[in-house]
């Protein structure tokens, strides 16, 4: 039995690779020839095909605010395009990647259980490397033309991995910190002053244990600030140099951990839990990838209005989050229609509103109509949100190979 399954699967994998190659070579010339007209025509076909489809959108479901936004978007596409969108609320995008992998292992090349997945960074790279994604499609979507690919490089390089039209930009993220001004009036300005602040406020800051996404981000931010030459981080990690380059980070963390929440012996589960801990005054400083997070949380009484947002003086990490269609999606057309809607000015405007979600837009203002530009300009700035000037410089993510190297080293030091 073992022998036959082994043979079958290997054959199918070969077949699959053949199909992938054939698709890639066959369809690339037609993209090159795409004129505006054919994009519009193609899109009409997609819209027609999408009608009546049900799209299973696998998206992290840990935030009620975001879930509410997704419900709103689902309702909109239902009314406008008769596409039904169901959010599959997940705890970890890796589980979804696993499921798609299981489907590939079982030879299911169509009718997959995932139509669209919220993804970026490492998970995107894993899906791309293992050919778990549908062939390039964002160039076919009308609203993709509105994306600010020129000034927002992270919309085309996802943690330095080329996006290659395999995922549609959904929102921008920038690492921000939040502090309760009632408990801590002066916010730190960099990693060194964070350490100093904690010396007189022992136990009032932490970050989620790696491999949590926010935890990894904090460690990368620290590395970027502490390393002698940040330029080194844009290149793939070289094992021989890793110890030397990352040495200042470990020195720093060794000093920081004893001053952290629970003496650095245990860590919060997630950035979301840190928000709760900030509300409980267990922490005075928390972090988020959403610059409007604090304002949003204050608006629904999750945080006191004494909480303010701040960033480090030399800039903080920023990236883009995307939605991607798996290779075997059951409702590809419907997924494209929904992804396209998510990139529309209407959906992006609603999302950027801090009372809704406050997630920054991926669109370029100069590609929008005057009315749309005005609407974006008139968006309220939340009580605790920084202006784009105050948000300062956005630091680009290090090469994605640094993530696993840092994670491995971190776990070997602090989780054994």
């Amino acid at each position: 039995m073992l022998k036959s399954t082994q043979k079958k699967s290997v054959d199918s994998a070969a077949l699959y690779r053949y199909i992938a190659v054939a698709l890639l070579t066959a369809s690339s010339p037609s993209w090159a020839l795409d004129s505006k007209e054919t994009i519009a025509e193609q899109w009409q076909k997609t819209l027609a095909e999408a009608k009546g489809q049900t799209v299973y959108f696998n998206a992290w479901g840990g935030s009620q605010t975001i879930n509410d936004y997704i419900s709103w978007a689902a309702k909109s596409v239902k009314e406008q395009y008769q596409v039904t969108v169901k959010q599959v609320k997940i705890t970890d995008t890796g589980d979804v990647v696993s499921r798609i992998l299981a489907e590939k292992t079982a030879n299911r090349t169509t009718g997959g259980s995932v139509d669209l997945v919220w993804v970026n960074g490492e998970n995107f790279r894993a899906m791309k490397d293992n050919e778990l994604l549908a062939d390039a499609y964002t160039q076919r979507m009308p609203n993709y033309a509105l994306v600010d690919t020129e000034n927002k490089p992270s919309t085309v390089y996802d943690f330095t991995t080329p996006v290659d039209n395999l995922e549609a930009p959904w929102g921008m993220a920038q690492l921000v910190f939040m502090h309760d001004t009632e408990k801590l009036s002066v916010a730190p300005t960099d990693m060194a002053s964070l350490l100093q602040t904690l010396q007189s406020n022992k136990g009032r800051f932490s970050y989620p244990a790696l491999p949590n996404f926010h935890g990894t981000t904090f460690v990368k931010q620290a590395l970027l600030e502490l390393v002698d030459d940040p330029q080194l981080l844009t290149k793939p990690v070289v094992e021989a140099d890793f110890a030397r380059i990352s040495a200042p980070l470990w020195v720093y963390l060794d000093k920081l951990h004893p001053l952290m929440w629970r003496g650095g012996k245990t860590f919060p589960k997630s950035a979301q839990q840190m928000k709760q801990l900030l509300n409980d005054s267990e922490l005075f400083i928390s972090l988020s990838f959403n610059p409007s997070d604090a304002s949003n949380a204050i608006a629904n009484d999750e945080l006191p209005n004494s909480v303010k947002t701040y960033v480090h003086a030399k800039g903080t990490l920023g990236n883009t989050h995307f939605v991607a269609i798996p290779f075997n999606a059951n409702a590809k057309a419907g997924a494209e229609v929904f992804a396209n809607f998510l990139m529309s000015a209407k959906a992006q405007l609603h999302k950027a509103n801090p009372t809704v979600w406050g997630d920054p837009t991926v669109l370029a203002m100069d590609k929008l109509s005057a009315d749309e530009r005005k609407a974006f300009a008139e968006l309220p700035l939340g009580v605790a949100t920084l202006t784009s000037e105050q948000l300062g410089k956005v630091l680009l993510e290090p090469h994605s190979s640094w993530v696993s190297a840092l994670e491995k080293a971190w776990i070997a030091r602090y989780a054994k």
Binding site: L2, I90, T91, G94, A102, R108, K265, T266, Q273, S404
Partner: protein
Amino acid sequence: MTVSWSGSRLAKSLLIALICLVFIAPILIGLIGTWLPALGYLPGLNSNYDSSRYLSLDAMAQVFAHPSTVASLKLSVGSALSATFIAFVLSQWLCLNLYRSALWGVLKHSIAPLLAIPHLAFSVGLVFLISPSGWLMRLVSPVLTGMSIPPDWLIVNDTYAASLTLGLVLKETPFFLLMSLSALSRFEHQKTLQIAASLGYSHPVAWQKLIFPQMYPQLRLPMLAVLSYSLSVIDISLVLGPNAPATFAVLVNQWFGHSDLNFRYLGAAGASLLLLLVLMFILLLYIIEVFLKKATKSWLVAGAKDLAKEVVSQWMAKVTLFFMLLVSVGCMAGLLVWSFSQRWRFPDALPELYSLKYWQKSGLQLLEPLQNTAIIGISSALIAVLICIALLQWQSKVQLGSAKPGFKKSLLWLIYVPMLVPQVSFLFGVQVLMVRLNLDGQLLSVIWIHLLFVMPYAYLTLAQVYLRFDERYLQQASILCQSKWRAFIYVKLPMLFKPIAFSFAVAFAVSVAQYLPTLYIGAGRVNTITLESVVLAGGSDARVSAVFALWQFILPLIVYVAALVIPQICFRNRREL
């Protein structure tokens, strides 16, 4: 009248075939589907076509090379062993000491509601209660503690997994109590105690020497089930357990979900290791049992000698029971207050602002998950109870000698397999199987997989009472009704309706609490209240977590209450039932 309805060979073979197909096949295939990647075979991965890794122990070596593995295993083994041991001893000690006290009734009646509290809801409540910024601290701050900000104490998620152990003990003790009551109902324990007393045995000694040894065979399996569960539990461990490193089951789950797909090999190898651990502990328990039997032999037959200070320990048992109930009520009350709060900061003893918003919102949002949970729970529990009745009916015939034993013993062990095999160690394989058969993401498949886990509990809760049924009633009824079937339906079933309903309620509660099987087999499409709760128990919004945890508690509670009330209403005219 002469047609024997369950004794027929065909029915029996069908039953056996059904059990093998439904219960054993998915687990076996699931295990193989997990062992293959553990041995380096996972054809879906492009990046790893290195055939030299096939059928090698590389993955297992990698598991042990991972820096967290050893510490993580220690935590898992430590918390699982101590939780199982403490909960078991505690339950026996409570039985011994409360048996003759006025609190015996309280104990009996508190088991059902305690069992109805899902593990996850209980752990979320426990965090709300005992964490440094939890309700207890809020009640005494700042008046007694002088604290206006919570202390930085390592209470929950502690590095020794003590809070995880506490949570497990509090949740597993009621289960052991239930199993003990059912074991007691199997023999004439009252008569035994009377005779022992007349021979000069004090109550504790009589219990230890005469009652416990007779109960133990019925408790062995539940003990192994609790041990396996504690070793492989994920949702509670995420809420209460340590995280640097986490317990081994959580670590394995992390590997299965890691963004680097090569970690799937580690995941599969780790999952297989977990199974090995469980098997090792089963063996260990067996050895300990043999040893204890030998060691205590002379003591067991040494006659009456009073050692225990009965009054003191009885008093302590009462306090313990009271404390357990108090913590459980406290957990649920904490959830309730949080669910109605809008703004509640430390050190306010009660929320500053209240709101119905979160309940209202959840009602709309949870319509589908609640419906799914109810359908899956009711169907799997119903099927499980029906199969149990068929099995038990056959067993009671064997007892009476009117049917041949067949391979009864081995068959029964098969039912328990899903309870003893850690879920993570075969679900990955089952997922692949379901995907291959195009059965994933469907309600029916989820019901099927739930049935696996629900069945052993249904059987455990029903078996003793069912087998103790005095068959003379049935014989008498058969003569009067002229039909075995009618006698069975109008006499035996009604007489056993109460335990059957209770067994249904237990099965339902087990189904509601299933997290991993629902996630893996439902492909996320079959959404249940537990999936929603786990997603939100990540800790973001205490108010939302509280509402969801309570919803998770409400369904089993309704069914438990129904299981107690409906038999009373139906059989008002037969008071002796």
